[in-house]
C-alpha cells in the first residue's frame, strides 16, 4: 500500500516534470530576471549596474507613468463590461434567428475579429480622416467642424474603446451563442405555460444559466484589455503620446525607444502587480455574485 503510493508519486513526478521544467525555464526564470533587471540601470542590450530602488522611486514621481495607469484603467472600464453587455445583446438577438440567415448575420458580426489590427487601424483611419474621411460628414455637422478624433485628447480613449469592441466582439458573441444553445428548451416552454413575461424569462432563466459564460467573457476581456497596446500605439503615432500612453506602450517606449531596459522592467513589474490585483478583485466579485 505504502509502496504503491510511493510508486504513484514517482510516476506523477515523472509525468509533470517536463511541464515544470519548461514552465520554470520559459516563464518563472525570465520573470525573476525581469524583477532583477528592475533594480539595475541596464540599457536594452547587455547588463547594467545595481542601483537599488532608484527605478521605483522614479516610477512614483513619473507623470507619464501615472497617465499610463489611468488610461489603462479607463480603457478597461470602457471596454470590459460594456463590450460584454453589447456581445450578450447581439447574441440574444442573433439566437432568435434561424438557419442560413442566422449564419449570415453571425458571420457579419464575426468578420472584424478576423482582421489583423493593422487593417483595422487603416480602415478606421481612412473613415475618420480629417480631410477626406466619410465619417466627417457625421462628425462635422454635430461638432460644427471636422475633428481629428485621434488628436483630440478626450476623444482618444473612447474612440479606441469603440473600435476595440467592434473588433473583438465577434468572439464573445460566439461564446454567448454557444451558452444560449445549451439552455434546455423545456425551461422556456414551462415558463411560457406559466405565463412568464419576456423580462421574467430573461432574468429568471436566461441570465442565471448564462452566468458562467458571462464570467468567462469578462475574464478573457479583462486580461486582454489590460494588455492594450497595438491600437493605442498605432492611432497615437507621432502625436501627443505622453497624454494617450497606456502601460504596455510605456514598457515598449522605455525599452525599445529610450533604450532603458532597467526602467522598462520596473514598469513591467508594476503592471504585473496591477494585473494580479485586478484579477484577485474580479475573482472575489464574481465569486460573491456566483454564490448567491
Amino acid at each position: 500500500m505504502l509502496k504503491s503510493r510511493r510508486n504513484e508519486m514517482l510516476v506523477a513526478a515523472v509525468l509533470v516534470a517536463p511541464f515544470v521544467f519548461i514552465y520554470g525555464w520559459m516563464f518563472v526564470y525570465p520573470t525573476l530576471q525581469m524583477v532583477q533587471l528592475s533594480f539595475t540601470n541596464a540599457p536594452l542590450i547587455g547588463p547594467g549596474k545595481w542601483i537599488g530602488l532608484d527605478n521605483y522611486k522614479r516610477l512614483f514621481g513619473d507623470r507619464v507613468f501615472g497617465t499610463a495607469v489611468w488610461n489603462t484603467t479607463y480603457f478597461v472600464l470602457l471596454t470590459v463590461i460594456p463590450g460584454t453587455a453589447v456581445a450578450l445583446g447581439i447574441a440574444l438577438m442573433v439566437s432568435r434567428l434561424n438557419g442560413w440567415f442566422q449564419s449570415l448575420i453571425l458571420s457579419a458580426f464575426f468578420l472584424p475579429f478576423v482582421l489583423p489590427i493593422t487593417v483595422v487601424y487603416l480602415i478606421w483611419d481612412w473613415l475618420l480622416n480629417l480631410q477626406f474621411g466619410i465619417a466627417q460628414y457625421i462628425i462635422g455637422p454635430i461638432m460644427g467642424k471636422p475633428m481629428n478624433v485621434w488628436r483630440t485628447i478626450p476623444w482618444f480613449m473612447p474612440g479606441v474603446a469603440i473600435i476595440t469592441i467592434w473588433w473583438t466582439n465577434g468572439f464573445s458573441i460566439l461564446l454567448f451563442l454557444a451558452g444560449l444553445r445549451n439552455i434546455p428548451k423545456e425551461l422556456y416552454e414551462a415558463a411560457a405555460l406559466d405565463g412568464a413575461t419576456r423580462w421574467q424569462v430573461f432574468t429568471r432563466i436566461t441570465w442565471p444559466l448564462i452566468w458562467p459564460v458571462t464570467v468567462l467573457c469578462l475574464t478573457i476581456q479583462l486580461i486582454l484589455q489590460l494588455k492594450i497596446f497595438d491600437q493605442v500605439y498605432l492611432f497615437s503615432l507621432g502625436g501627443r503620446t505622453a497624454a494617450t500612453m497606456v502601460m504596455v506602450q510605456y514598457i515598449f517606449e522605455q525599452a525599445f525607444q529610450k533604450n532603458s531596459g532597467g526602467y522598462a522592467a520596473t514598469v513591467a513589474v508594476a503592471l504585473f502587480v496591477i494585473v494580479i490585483a485586478f484579477s484577485v478583485f474580479q475573482y472575489q466579485v464574481l465569486r460573491i455574485r456566483g454564490a448567491r
Binding site: N41, I45, G46, N129, L130, F132, N148, W150, R240, Q257
Partner: protein, 425 residues
Amino acid sequence: MIRNFMRAALLSTALLGAAGGALAQETVVWWDFLGGGDGIRMKKLIEDFNAEHSGKIEIQATTLDWGVPFYTKVQTSAAVGEGPDVMTYHASRLPLGVSQGSIAEITPDDWAAMGLSKDTFAEATWDAVNVDGKVYAVPFDTHPIVLYYNKDKLDAAGLIGADGLPAGLDGIDNFKAAMKKLQDGGTKWGISQVTADGSFAFRTIYSYLCQQDGSIGIDGAWLADDNQDKLAKAVQVIADWVKEGYNPSYTDYPSTVALFTSGESAFMINGVWEVPTMADLQAQGKLFNWGAIELPVMFNHPCTYEDSHAFAIPANAGKTPTPEKHAAVLEVIKWMSDHSLFWATAGHIPANKAVTETAEYKAMQPQASYAKLTANGVFDPKSKNAGVASPLFDAAGNAFTAAINNEVDAPTAVAEMKAALDGLQ
C-alpha cells in the same frame, strides 16, 4: 564492386566540393527600411548588382519596417550575432548604434579598398557619419525636406521669377503674402504642412531654428541659452499659418500629399522622398506643372534639415566576417555609391559628389534645383537620444502637435519639451 562504387562516389563528391569551393559565390545579407517609391528603385539597383556580379556576389535583401522596429531589430540581432552583413542606417541614428557597440567601424583600410574618402562627400554629410572621431557608415544620399510648389498656380499669381523658379517667398510676412495671393486666386489652402504629427513637423521647425543660428543642443545641455526662445519662434511660424487659415490643422502625412496633388494647396513642405510620387503622377498625365526648391528663408539665412541614408556594417557579436565576405560587402557599398545616379530618381541627393556633378544629374529636375541646399544642411544633434524615430522626435511629437495647432502656446510647449529632454537618461 560495391566498395569501388562507394569510393568513386566519395571521390567525386569530394572533387565537386572542392570545385564548388573555388567557384563559391559570396552571399551578402542585406537589410533595409526602404518601403516606398525609393524601395522600388533600390530593388532595381540590387537586381542590377546581382546581374553584374552573377556567380561572384549575390545580395539577399530583406526590407523591414522603418523606424523604431528597424533599429530595435538590428541592435538586438547584432548583440546575438544574427545581424545582416550590411544594412542601411540613418546617419542621425548612428550615435545610438555606436553607444551599444552594434556597428563596426569603417576603417581607413576599408576606405582605401573602396576608393572613397572624406572628399567624396559634402562636409556636413561626412561629419554626420563620424562619431567620437571614428567613421561608422558610408553615406549613400542626403535627404532634406524641400518646398514643393504648384507651378501653374504660382504662375497665375505672378510668383514665378525670370529664372522660372518661385520668387519673393523669403521672410515670414512675404511668404504669408504669397499664400494670401494664392488663396485669393481660389486655392483652398496656401500650404499643406503635416500638423497631426509634431515629430514630422520637427523637420521644418528644426530648419527654422537653424535659420536663427539656434540649436537643440546635446545630452545634459538641451536647449541652453536663448535656444528655447528661438525654438518657440520657429514653432510660432507654423502655428500662425494654422491660426490664420493658410495651413489645415491636425492634418496627417498622406492627407498633405493628397491636398497638394489634388491642387487644394499650392505649397507643401515634405521630404525629397515624395519626388517619385509627383514624377509618377505627372508621367501618367495626372499632375499639374510642379517643382521643388530649398525651404525659403524665414529668419536670417538659409538652412534646411537633412539626414543621410548610409550603409553600415553591423558588429555581429562572436562572428567576424571572413576577408572574402568583408571584401564583398565593401564591393556592394562601393558599387551602390558609384551607381547612385539612379537613386536620385527617388528624390534623394546622392552623397557621392562625383555623381551630382555629372551632366545627367544636372539635367534632372527638380533634383538639380534643390541639390545645392546640401551646402546649408543641418543634421540632427549628435546624441543617442536624437535622430529619426528617437526620444527627441517623440518629445517633438508631444510638444509640437499641441503647439502648431494652437492648443498650447509655443513657449509653454517648448518648455515642456525641454523638461522631457532633461528627463532622458
